[in-house]
Amino acid sequence: MPTLVPWVPRAGAAAATRSGAPVSRDGSQTLDREVWPVIMVPGIMGSRIEKADRSDRIWDPDRTRFMMWLMTQDPNFLTRHYSYRQTPGATMREIYDSDNNAYADSDSAERAFGRSRNDRNWGSVSWEYYGPGTLAIQRAIASQGGMVWCFGYDWRRPNQDTGLALKNFVNDVVRPTSPFKPIIITHSMGGLVTRAACAIHGMESMVSAVIHTMMPTHGAAECYGSVKGGLMSGAFGYLIGSTPQEVQCTSSGVAGMYQLMCNNLYPDPTWLTLDSRLSAHCDPPGPYAVSDMYRMLRERNGMVGIVRHEEFNADVVNVGSNRYVHNTQRALRNILSNIDLAEQYHTSQVRAYCHPQTWLIAGDGKETTVGVNVGFTQRTYHGTPLRPEAPVSLSNSTSGDATVPLVSARALENQSGCQGGYVTRGNDPHSGSVNDSVVIPAMIDLIRTARARTATRW
């Protein structure tokens, strides 16, 4: 069975980021083959989204001025703003530079496709996070007919919904442009989107191959730790808050994030340790086990559960520093709905699904949260015990890409559909890995391999 091997750049691989397009005598570049599509599916927070009525931005890492303003907004506003239910969104369509001018396509090999980058939906993903990597892939494969598309999406929505949108994108937008079924390359949560599209919505037969990079297949320990503990680190740096309540409120509308929490199939069951004294104070009482993760997330006293329901049911929560969030009953309903959707995704709809032609790239060697400890404290006031607390602490190791533990990124390795892949070291952390000079040639290598071995026609 193919397994992941350490990525060692081969001779010439470093040059893969340069254009290899053949040049004719008049200087124009030419295409000598049929066009075959590659679709980049980004991770959480990697897509640019605006309000559904196109009136204003919701999330746009490419617009520094907007992002700086967004960081000044209060948690009451952000709780609504980041909720796909309260603030419906749509992906942005145009690539702009910082002076609001549309980017011109500059590569002649690309121009030969007759479709601009905006036509190929590049404007929907963050150039800051994905631009250099996507461009490097495009330049490396353009001369062979490889045409890169991007599939940005509203990352606040559940991956089941986004999976359906991806399938429709493949069928309605990409399919008419090529006789070949696309190769899909994913980053992080984009892998969960793609697997949902295949496992739930019937996209499996519509793609030639899937390449997952840095995928939290069965979750990442940090996601549970960040939301429960209100910890300011990692992939959710932009959804941060200084207290658990603030993070719980502002992330309550982000269903996708709940699907990134470790699920029942997480390969290392030791990722979570719970103080045994917590059980008696849980509602319903414990014990709780990682093999029943969703029962744990729903626990009502917030001992092992994600939130304390009584606090949110008061409909206004002090999230710290005298700042309040209103309508927290609605936030709690959203959280519980998010947990339901995550459970459906991981325990019945997708589970360990693996496309029959799957390659993996996993990052290693970075300080990564691999474990969460939920402790127990109970202070007293003049001898009277106060409500117990469940402090969260994280444990790290270098086994991962700074966000996704290696065991989760490699979790599909033993599935029959896995054709192998690479473990990269020395590259940028998780969020920046697609643009990294170590990872880019590995992605190009696997795209070429997949193209050579499994490209299929419609």
Partner: protein, 140 residues
């Protein structure tokens, strides 16, 4: 409850909250000022609002060189912050001024003003004019 909105003021039914964010742009649209209100506790201070903002800006790389200060605005204490940031794809840096104050018990105000670095002097003058001329609407 008497509430002001732009050129008018009116009574809001009990329990209603003003969740508007006010947006002002300069004639050339290079400068932008927003004013947003947020629910806060009865003892909230301007620092309660500004400290989390400063932490968030720092954690996201937008506040590494931020400078903070204090002043009076409309007769009440105010926390200020000035920061600048330039992402890899930006031609020039963005400058942002932030001011937080408590105009009324239970309501916090966050004012932001931003522009590109080339308009920094105009931005500084504009924010100073706005803050120094600000007054509270009685009973609103």
């Amino acid at each position: 409850m008497k509430t002001a909105a732009g050129h008018v003021q009116f009574d809001l039914p009990d329990g209603w909250r003003n969740q508007t964010s006010y947006l002002f742009r300069s004639r050339d649209e290079e400068l932008e000022i927003t004013l947003a209100y947020s629910p806060v506790g009865p003892d909230a201070t301007p620092d309660d609002l500004m400290t989390p903002i400063a932490a968030k800006l720092k954690a996201t790389g937008y506040g590494d060189a931020a400078t903070r200060g204090t002043r009076q605005v409309a007769g009440v204490p105010c926390e200020t912050l000035v920061t600048r940031a330039k992402a890899s794809g930006d031609d020039e840096a963005t400058v942002m001024h932030v001011a937080t104050f408590i105009p009324r018990r239970g309501s916090g105000a966050t004012l932001t003003a931003s522009s590109t670095a080339r308009h920094e002097a105009k931005l500084k003058a504009a924010i100073e004019e706005v803050l120094s001329s600000m007054s509270l609407i009685p009973n609103a």
